[in-house]
Symmetry: C2
Subunit: 184 residues, 2 copies
DNA sequence: ACTATTCTTTAGCGATCGTTCAAATATTAG
DNA sequence: CTAATATTTGAACGATCGCTAAAGAATAGT
């Protein structure tokens, strides 16, 4: 008798590299506008391989979302300076006006299936929870964390609609200032 | 000789009613996901009539955008109380989680043609300009107007991703409070 | 009644959508 | 070398996409 999982051909392409290509396309273009053919081309594979690796376009999108969170979101220890660091990261000059895949997906939400919607909104609430933890012990920690998380969202939207880095930084600076945080 | 514009069959449907139907679909679903067939059905017309009245899906979307601004945006006289009134309007309980067509379109921007992109971002800057006018003479008018306009954007995004009315109102209240405005 | 003009309907265009399937290819165990 | 398993390619599936052309229906001047 033969071993079931050991006797076989292995994947020719790297799954994470393929997911990175998917992240790039979904991030730039959005879920609806991105076609499976585009994904296959960017991944350097054929349709059959695509559906063997991911199961559907939606499932691929869910995996891409996870990959995005894992690769693109800053890993910071909670604390007041983590918030300003977050704002510095999202207002960097090199981000190219793509915004944030999570925020973009939140807007595209009605076109996604329910588990994906839930994950997206949960991730957004996760950012707010992180900010709340960063402000733990301070006055109006919850209220300020909500506003700061909301400001992050708006900065991503405005960045995507072509706002200048300078304007994004002014918004970030004002939000930090009014909530009693330093820009640096 | 016959008069050119007077001798003809007149339109069977109302253009503004058709545009309202388009606004509803584009607002709920987004540009890419909304099909011309859906638009026709919602308008109660056939494809031929659609392309006779609007010229393309993109052109219809542009008209719908204008109609949206005209019908859905509050018409307020500039002043500090106009800002809180704006926030009250966008956090009303009856808005149904559709967000704002302009904000949604800003996120969908890369999938739209250039003139539409420009109009969308110009409208967003228009809100900020209005808020600046509302705060004229106050301290940090520009900086606060930018942050408040950004907060409006984020409230629309969060509303679309399922945030509760209570949370949206807390964010609005905090932004107003920190910029020296009253909620009421 | 006749003609000119514009709208409406209807059917269908070529292209692309997400997805599936069979055959070919590669990999490993016996 | 053969059998077994997994992945690959490449071609298609039916459905839908945005859009158009032709014919019928309505309106107004002659």
């Amino acid at each position: 008798m033969l071993h079931p999982t050991l006797v076989a051909r292995s994947r020719d392409f790297d799954l994470d590299e393929a997911l990175d290509a998917a992240v790039d396309l979904f991030w730039r273009q959005g879920y609806a506008v991105t076609s499976v053919r585009q994904l296959c081309e960017a991944m350097g594979i054929q349709a059959g391989s695509f559906y063997a690796a991911f199961e559907s376009k939606e499932a691929c999108f869910r995996r891409a979302l996870q990959r995005y969170v894992q690769v693109q979101l800053p890993a910071l220890a909670p604390g007041p300076e983590a918030i300003s660091a977050w704002f510095r990261a999202i207002t960097a000059a090199s981000r190219g006006g793509k915004g944030c895949l999570l925020v973009n997906s939140a807007v595209e939400s009605p076109g996604l299936d329910e588990p994906t919607q839930i994950e997206v909104s949960a991730r957004l609430r996760g950012l707010e929870a992180f900010f709340t933890a960063c402000l733990h012990g301070r006055e109006s920690a919850k209220a300020n964390a909500e506003l700061l998380a909301a400001t992050v969202v708006s900065i991503h939207v405005l960045a995507r609609s072509g706002a200048s880095t300078a304007k994004l930084r002014r918004i970030a600076a004002r939000a930090l200032e009014l909530t009693g945080l330093d820009v640096r």
